[in-house]
Amino acid sequence: MTILDKVTALLGEGAVLEAAPDRVPRVAPGSPDAVALLLGTAHQEGWRVRIEGAGTWLQSDAPADIALTTRRLDRIPAIEPSDLTATAEAGIGLDQLRQQLADRGAWLAIDPPGLAGRTLGSVVSTATAGPLRHGYGPIKDHLLGVTFVTGDGRMVQSGGRVMKNVAGYDLTRVQAGGFGAFGVIVLVHLRLRTLPRADVTYVLEGAREDLTQVGEDIAAAGLTPAALELVSPALARRERWVLAVRLAGSPALVAADEAGLGAASGGGRFAPLRAEEAHAFWMRLAEGFAVRPVTFRIGGVPTASDELLDLLQHQLGDEWISASPAAGAIRWTGDASIDRLQRLRRTLAGQEVPLTLERAPWPLRGAVGHFGAYREGVGPLVAGLRRTFDPGGALVVATEGT
């Protein structure tokens, strides 16, 4: 019996999709239980499994015997607008989820890079936050709990559906940013906000140093933008660097911040974008990170942002960069060799700045790893967690590189 025969017997014909470009059989379990059944079997049979969402972010090129895609796990079991919580399966596209939430007046305040149809599971597992992290925090701050299936087919729940929860250890934290190395996320409990009644974007073009200063002035003036993003000319498709400010919330709060913006702009003039322009601007920014071969993020303290941008420019070129200076978060995309990335990661590690490889073709991903250059003692903990959640090593994930 081939692997495909066994999978068909196990989950039915409907679960087998067209093979991946590299002819690896692609399997789409239709329920969390089916994911557990499949991974339990994979563990017993010694199959290597690569995890896919909708197939828009990472290339489906990890060496594997089957590709498990979550795309049929696309239900939204609960939206509770009065509690501002929702529960969604991991394979739901972010665009679909966003639409359904908006219909109920609710909002998930994240804007990760990538295409609109990226799955919720992939956003959680890669912990990729976008410009809104400035006002609403990293991905993990939006999670109330997750249910995941381990590499040997066990279903584990962590966290819950309510706003505060300290019952037991918070295993959700291992899944957020785990890149699937500690299991397949099947269900996510989310913390929502109400859809902002006012949502405006302003942009200012200028030299990077000047814009950095304006950003600091805005913070010092007591404004509380939802996003305050510094974007490189190539990525913004403009002549010079762009500082984009997004104000979102109640009309009263937004109006008050708009009034303060002019005063903080150091003589430069912020230009408001029309609603369609603003939408296109932020969308282009997100999609820009899904087209070049390599994407990574780094995180340092806010005052180091300038120096870190210089370092990237110097070592890799600054073509496609987006940064939330006040959050100390920078994302870069372009083309880079294994050697350069490894060197950059070591240099940054010396400054206590982690580099997380978010997206790259397998040969590079496998060699560099999503994470690495750990502080002393961290490696054994990560390895221990990996053994705990994937004892047979069924899940093919380039955690630490070779």
Binding site: G137, K164, A167, V174, T194, A256, F371, G377, P391
Partner: protein
């Protein structure tokens, strides 16, 4: 426990800082919860990080279990040490190591008192936002271990949202650095995993936290209601409106009277069925004024008898003092107090609060509610006298019924106080055996011998054994360890009641 061990420990920390005498050890037999009591064999108070490391290395070499303890204000029995266990009190490690104004962060030792950190940040125009009501006593280390919350966590988030990096002393005596100063993890979020692990993954020896700018405008409102249901509905209305108050706290009549009878009398109306304390703050004065108007209107429409705004800073502090000292005031009601900490979806508040009243009536008990309403985090407290065995039984039955009510509403058993030993018996109500087994397995990654704070958080009896690590070596999967997760944990096994 051998006095040779006491001697060796004294050689590290000095004789004055090792307690062997029974009377001294008794001081540490309880935490903030009076219902559990355990006397440690030895108490050690290291004075520096280096002493602490040396102590743990010695204990690890001997295989002696130990329990870290901050100020001992915990409300789940987490900082209690059994016989054969050494209690490590961390209150002498109380230095604020750095306040980085430009990057808005601070680095502290674990024994720093929460309010002291706040006071040190204030001259820089910054605050440490998590503000448990016990903040004048509890330590940041204890806050990290419990993932403590507080009234203002509704807007600003709980401890987990404010810890960027940690230095952790593992149970084997090795030191690891988790996270980075910017908050970005090196791989999986081990800082987030450690926060709330109740001292089961090691001892936090250095803590880097995020500070936030102090608000420029604050408005504090006191609204009073003639029914608990109406107060609960007001909370739901405000939350659904999208305005996020800095705090939204509720107290019921029994609690109001306890406060008003104490030295912390805040001028709460005694005849109200419930009061809401709502605070709106922000960096933008106009915005705060507009939101305060909107919230006032919502409170009125929800049936508030009156809505009063604190006119001065003194009045505001008085209103908050009453809230923050409410637990202490309730302690005066009777000899013993059961403190619960369930969380429910906010829209369930009116129903749950009403049903709690009914349960209390059915059992003939006094239940006082004081809680973080905006988060749905309830603290129904039952005052009683534990020397009356029949009464004690009724209290236990009522507690279990209240807990089940909250779980049935979609909630959880603890929102900020932690599991410790107090809520071990409820864990199987919300987690299946597989999930509990996973937690236990993760604990063993950090502490394979289970030396640090043994017997807390995870009810071992209820875990499905996580044996796959061993079995994987033989290429087989263990499917035979099926376990009945509804197995009740005998009460006597998890607590000793005074």
């Amino acid at each position: 426990m051998s006095s040779a061990l006491a001697r060796d420990l004294a050689a590290i920390v000095g004789e004055r800082h090792v307690s062997e005498a029974r009377a001294e050890r008794f001081t540490y037999a309880m935490d903030g919860l009076p219902t559990h009591r355990r006397v440690p064999d030895l108490v050690v108070l290291p004075g520096t990080r280096e002493e602490l490391i040396a102590v743990v290395r010695l204990l690890a070499a001997l295989g002696v279990p130990f329990v870290p303890r901050g100020a001992g204000t915990g409300l789940s029995g987490g900082a209690l040490a059994d016989q054969g266990t050494v209690l490590l009190v961390l209150t002498r490690l109380n230095r604020i190591l750095q306040i980085d104004n430009a990057n808005r962060r601070a680095v502290v030792e674990p024994g720093v008192v929460n309010a002291k950190l706040g006071a040190a940040a204030k001259p820089h125009g910054l605050q440490y936002a998590p503000d448990p009501s016990s903040q004048t006593a509890c330590t940041v280390g204890g806050n990290v271990a419990e993932n403590a919350g507080g009234p203002h966590c509704l807007k600003y988030g709980v401890t987990a949202n404010h810890v960027l990096a940690l230095e952790v002393l593992l149970a084997d005596g090795s030191v690891v650095e988790l996270g980075s100063p910017g908050g970005e993890p090196w791989g999986p979020d081990l800082v987030g995993l450690f926060v709330g692990s109740e001292g089961n993954f090691g001892i936090a020896t250095k803590i880097t936290v995020r500070l936030t700018p102090l608000p420029r405008a604050i408005r504090t409102l006191l609204a009073d209601f003639t029914s608990i249901r109406a107060a609960g509905e007001a909370v739901t209305t405000i939350i659904a409106s999208g305005i996020v108050p800095a705090a939204l706290e509720m107290m019921d009549q029994s609690c109001i009277c306890a406060v008003e009878d104490s030295v912390y009398a805040a001028g709460y109306p005694r005849d109200a069925a419930a009061i809401l304390l709502a605070e709106i703050d922000g960096r933008n004065v106009d915005g705060v004024v507009a939101e305060t108007e909107a919230v006032t209107e919502m409170l009125r429409k929800s049936g508030a008898r009156s809505v009063r705004s604190a006119a001065t800073e003194v009045e505001r502090e008085r209103l908050w003092q009453g809230r923050k000292k409410a637990f202490g005031a309730m302690g005066r009601l009777s000899r013993d107090l059961v403190v619960q900490d369930a969380v429910v979806p906010r829209s369930a508040l009116p129903h749950v609060l009403e049903t709690i009243c009914t349960i209390a009536q059915n059992y003939g008990l006094v239940v006082s509610n004081v809680f973080h309403a905006g988060d749905g985090n309830l603290h129904p407290n039952i005052s009683f006298d534990a020397t009356d065995p029949a009464l004690k039984q009724r209290v236990e039955a009522a507690s279990a019924e209240i807990m089940q009510l909250c779980i049935d509403a979609g909630g959880t058993i603890t929102g900020e106080h932690g599991v410790g030993i107090d809520k071990l018996r409820y864990m199987h109500l919300i987690f299946d055996a597989e999930s509990l087994g996973a937690m236990q397995a993760v604990r063993r990654v950090f502490d394979p011998r289970e030396l640090v704070n043994p017997g807390k958080v995870v009810p071992i009896h209820a875990c499905r054994e996580w044996t796959s690590i061993r079995n994987a070596k033989f290429g087989m999967r263990n499917d035979t360890t099926g376990f009945n997760s509804a197995f009740p944990i005998p009460h006597s096994a998890v607590e000793v009641t005074r």
